[in-house]
């Protein structure tokens, strides 16, 4: 089940929080290709956010190729949900890694420790994916 948590103190636009969390859920297998996303009204009601915010998030997810919409049926996670060429995907990821590296520096987490943590997180997601029954 998709569970989203919004944080108005994060400084990130609310619709982008929805986008990022759906992407994370798709990447970790919490929602799988072909599975439906909640429709806009109940999700907006549950999160107590403007309906337009959810609609905007879904439009963004669709333009990024993460989900697809079938008229009258709703939104579904796409099977091969990265339409980007590898180089562009790496470029997008690099920004995120840079943020984490900077943060590691401030938190005085060294290179080796950081890399070990990255390995651990890969394992954790793999583990979660294996555990979820198919």
């Amino acid at each position: 089940m998709l569970r989203l948590q919004l944080n108005f103190k994060s400084g990130k636009p609310v619709y982008l929080q929805v986008v990022d969390q759906v992407k994370a859920a798709a990447a970790s297998g919490v929602i799988r290709p072909g599975e439906p996303l909640p429709s806009i009204r109940p999700l907006a009601e549950e999160l107590r956010v403007n309906r337009n915010t959810v609609a905007k998030a879904y439009a963004e997810l669709e333009s990024q190729g993460i989900i697809e919409t079938f008229a009258g049926k709703g939104c579904f996670v796409r099977a091969n949900h990265s339409p980007f060429r590898k180089a562009i995907r790496i470029e997008l990821l690099t920004e995120r890694v840079d943020e984490a590296v900077v943060q590691a520096h401030h938190l005085q987490v060294g290179r080796a420790e950081f890399l070990r943590l990255a390995e651990d997180r890969f394992d954790a997601f793999q583990h979660q994916r294996d555990r979820t029954p198919r």
């Binding site: 103190k9 400084g11 636009p13 609310v14 907006a44 337009n52 005085q108």
Partner: protein, 302 residues
């Protein structure tokens, strides 16, 4: 009306009571499909402004337009497209809930029976009950039903949730999001005046803070949260003099410092980073904190 015509447009509005200016040069515009917050303290001029929109009061000077029309000259055309929930709802006490709904529906070109049934059900309102026997919360719920069933393009809410219990307040907001906004989202505009800002945080796209009858801040909600931030840094030892131009120090004790920034967060963060703090974090202010920081800069988010 093309889709770019603002649903509400207020220009240099002044409304005087005797010698006192309740509204003193207010400007704002609400685009179609937006959920617009109108925040102010008690007595800031919120209700007076709203009454000018609804032609319940005439402006002393300035202009008010709703759907591009003057509400005084085209009152019927304007009112047929909007609905209003005041802070203190009154119904004819001898009427039942059913009579009240029928009475309100008789003035409307459209009335969604299905929405009416669903909301009566959701609020567990007994249609046979006399309105004089309803609680304050139930009167507000009934007012919301009478506002939503005609499917208006503009829903004007004046302090709709003050004095209600938390359950009724949550249900109220859920209904505005669900039953109201679901209809035709591009043409469902909400204009809500409130000082209970945190409840409406997720709902608000854009807002104006009114103080002493004037708009003191108008911003997109996401942009506001990006602009107003609190930064916290801890150094290994007292860093001595820091370049904090453009920031407002909230607290500073030895090697800890907490500051408030308005619009230059990245720049201030970079300057702090160059001093290699042990910890450096930032968080946005909520709309309520932004409200406090705007009206009481001294009290800013301590």
């Amino acid at each position: 009306m093309n889709s770019e015509t603002p649903v509400v447009e207020i220009e240099r509005l002044v409304r005087r009571y005797g010698r006192r200016d309740a509204v003193d040069g207010l400007n704002l515009r609400v685009r179609p499909g937006r959920c617009y917050g109108f925040f102010g303290r008690n007595g800031a001029g919120k209700t007076t402004s709203i009454k000018c929109l609804l032609n319940l009061l005439r402006p002393t000077s300035g202009a008010v337009r709703v759907f591009g029309m003057d509400p005084a000259r085209e009152e019927v055309a304007v009112k047929s497209r909007l609905a209003y929930v005041p802070d203190n709802v009154a119904f004819y006490p001898w009427m039942s809930v059913r009579d009240t709904l029928d009475y309100c529906a008789s003035f409307r070109a459209r009335w969604n029976q299905e929405t009416e049934r669903a909301l009566l059900d959701q609020f567990r309102l007994d249609a046979r009950q006399k309105t004089s026997h309803l609680s304050k919360g139930q009167r507000t719920q009934l007012a919301l039903i009478t506002a939503i069933c005609p499917e208006p393009e503009l829903l004007v809410l004046d302090e709709p949730t003050s004095g209600l219990d938390p359950i009724v307040r949550r249900e109220f907001i859920r209904t505005v999001i669900g039953a109201y906004q679901d209809g035709d989202p591009g043409r469902r505009t909400v204009f809500v005046s409130t000082h209970l800002i945190s409840e409406f945080e997720g709902l608000i796209d854009e807002f104006t803070i009114i103080d002493r009858g004037r708009d003191v801040l108008t911003l997109d909600a996401d942009a506001a949260r990006e602009r107003y931030q609190k930064i916290y840094a801890r150094f290994a030892s007292d860093p001595g003099a820091l370049d904090l131009a453009g920031a407002h120090v909230l607290r500073r004790e030895g090697r800890d410092i907490e500051i408030f920034v308005n619009g230059n967060s990245a720049d201030v963060m970079n300057r702090l980073k160059s001093r290699s703090p042990e910890t450096l974090t930032s968080e946005s202010l909520t709309l309520e904190e932004i409200f406090v920081a705007t009206l009481e800069p001294g009290e800013a988010v301590a």
